[in-house]
């Protein structure tokens, strides 16, 4: 029990993964449908840029699939989250609660608003925010005033929480929504990784006042680079569209813009790719679930490491499959990464926790014991739909 059997872990991966490839990436695009047809149509019609039918189609298809009222396509997931925070009114000096265990874009977008990320812990069963622990923490540091949630320790308003569905696995949204309601926090779902993931039968992105999707090359569907803002609120959707297209006021020829805003529109060329990819999402989900089940099988027999399974309340997209080392073996994590990558099977650890990065080291934070533990124990393994 002192040492993890690294060879058996490598063999388990090799048992699941194809043998005819020199290198197996973590998550690569898969084009099996109308990608060529739609992209060629853009070139043939010369509608490759800011407007075009694929942008409109992609937005309505995303709304249909996720069950939200409106989707606004943008240039990437970072831009989507930035606009989410802007349109819910995050201002300079506000605090926004975000997990320390997340990709750096979550924290960066808070900074773009001049706001301060306030780091919160995760729970092991979802890899996302722990609503109960968060509620207890806010009880101890925050005061509910008529205007909102006041951080007594920092003297700043806590305005919102960004809940990240880590590696595609939904956070426990019902109790989280109760915490948000109690403390008057606006919920934003960072659903960058969770397209195709459902919480209690309903697609992620339906709980936040606004939510962000990503279609980067490593995501379950890709547009090259792309993202979307989801919301049930038509006026917020219209504002998102306005803010992502230079806030130009409609006019037959005049250029008037009514606020500082962004050039975040998704080009039609990229939207064309997205339309084709979205058509195949059910097939990708089926294939990825089959892969996850194979991993579950082989890792059942191995001591000291476990395959992360979707929470009970969730139907997850298994975007990035995840192994968790037992606490006893964290010292061997890097050896395992060396061994697997050395054998052409790409693996990687969790992101460095946000509060450890130099630009966020002075940000407020709660006790982050679980996030620290997960960071030391977590390994992502190959997850592409074609595996």
């Amino acid at each position: 029990m002192n040492k993890l059997d690294l060879t058996s872990i490598l063999e388990a991966l090799q048992k699941v993964l194809p043998h005819d490839q020199n290198f197996i990436g973590l998550h690569e695009p898969y084009f099996i449908g109308n990608e060529w047809v739609y992209v060629k149509e853009c070139l043939d019609t010369r509608w490759v840029s800011s407007v075009g039918k694929f942008v409109d189609n992609f937005e309505s298809s995303l709304a249909n699939y996720t069950g939200v009222e409106r989707a606004v396509a943008v240039v990437n997931g970072t831009a989507a989250l930035h606009i989410c925070l802007q349109i819910i009114g995050i201002k300079s000096g506000d605090e926004v609660l975000i997990p320390s265990l997340t990709f750096v874009a979550t924290a960066n977008t808070v900074s773009y608003c001049g706001a301060i990320p306030h780091f919160i812990d995760s729970e092991e069963s979802t890899l996302g925010v722990d609503p109960k622990k968060l509620g207890n923490y806010l009880d101890s540091v925050a005061e509910i005033k008529p205007e909102g949630c006041w951080n007594r320790e920092t003297g700043r308003w806590i305005k919102a929480i960004v809940a990240v569905h880590t590696f595609g696995h939904p956070v426990d949204l019902d109790p989280l929504c109760q915490v948000c309601e109690h403390f008057q926090l606006t919920l934003v779902e960072d659903a960058a990784e969770s397209l195709g993931s459902f919480y209690k039968g309903c697609h992620t992105g339906n709980w936040g006042k606004v939510s962000a999707l990503s279609f980067n090359g490593n995501k379950i569907i890709t547009t090259g680079g792309g993202g979307a803002i989801l919301t049930q609120d038509h006026s917020l959707a219209n504002l998102a569209k306005h803010m992502t297209t230079t806030a130009k006021l409609p006019h037959k020829w005049a250029f008037n813009h009514d606020r500082v805003s962004y050039n975040y529109r998704l080009p039609n060329l990229n939207a064309a790719l997205g339309c084709a990819q979205l058509e195949n999402l059910p097939e990708f989900l089926r294939a990825k679930r089959a892969l996850a089940e194979k991993y579950m099988q082989v890792f059942q027999e191995i001591c000291g490491i476990k395959f992360f399974r979707e929470p009970d309340f969730a139907h997850s997209n298994y975007w990035l499959n995840t192994l968790l080392l037992d606490e006893d073996y964290v010292a061997q994590r890097d050896d395992l990464l060396e061994l697997t990558n050395g054998h052409g099977i790409m693996t990687r650890p969790a992101w460095t926790l946000m509060h450890k990065l130099p630009m966020f080291k002075d940000s407020p934070r709660m006790d982050l014991k679980v996030a620290e533990s997960l960071e030391s124990r977590l390994i992502n393994i190959p997850s592409s739909a074609f595996l």
Copy 2:
């Protein structure tokens, strides 16, 4: 002489433009080369996203063509200019001189840095900044201190000037560089519109410490959406690359980022389109110059309006062809816009001047007489390379 002969202007346009189209846009993409070959290669190899050979090729081809040392491809021209300002050190509370006669993105990027746009006048011979008038203005409001250029009136540092090559026509860079040197201002070229435009034999973008290009759908070449940062300085280019790719530190697996930064990378799919487009730039330039010459011919005979020609020192790309009404006829500008657009020939006025937009109305500005005059008299006419 009281009234402009609108019908003769319409007929002049119709004489130059094709008759077999219901609608002629201002500037539309033109695909006559390897666009589909390269884009298909991206789909076939599945390298559509953040990295790939087309991004590298596009960057080196841009550097070769423009004669700068390095080009860094980004997601659009706005992102390029934002990063230009960041890497030359523009900080919150700084002032940046920009023409009032420009597209809103120029002013927005200053705001993204928390800086204040300070609006300057244009000259009629270039449509861009008037170096002499600027020098005289700075003499009257600014004080040169050891740390830089101090605005006595606002109590802020004036750090940089963004020179916009309006509609592709180069500003008079030599005297402008003298003003920059004298007042210790960093020069940034907003070359979004001037790919293919040369000043005294050398490509625009070579004078700024950093410069920005755009490949939006309406530009001389397009990537759907895209832009690039140009610089002679390798360390600035490396910093631009770092800042546009989440500031991730190289490591075989760890995710460490050393500053708040951006996801501004150009997807390989879009770069593929750009590589093909750039191969045909010489042909586009030839065709656009031929079109401009036809316009010059027909508008020579019409009173009250003149076709804008490149400045003497410039070889311009004639990105957007431009008519200027004589002062006497500005009241008829909108009638002319109505008439031409009503006949399926897209025309438009200049952008609303930046100091008239609500978000910039309190920004400092010099006398803007020439910009005001140009705004009232300027009309852009169809300019696509295939016309």
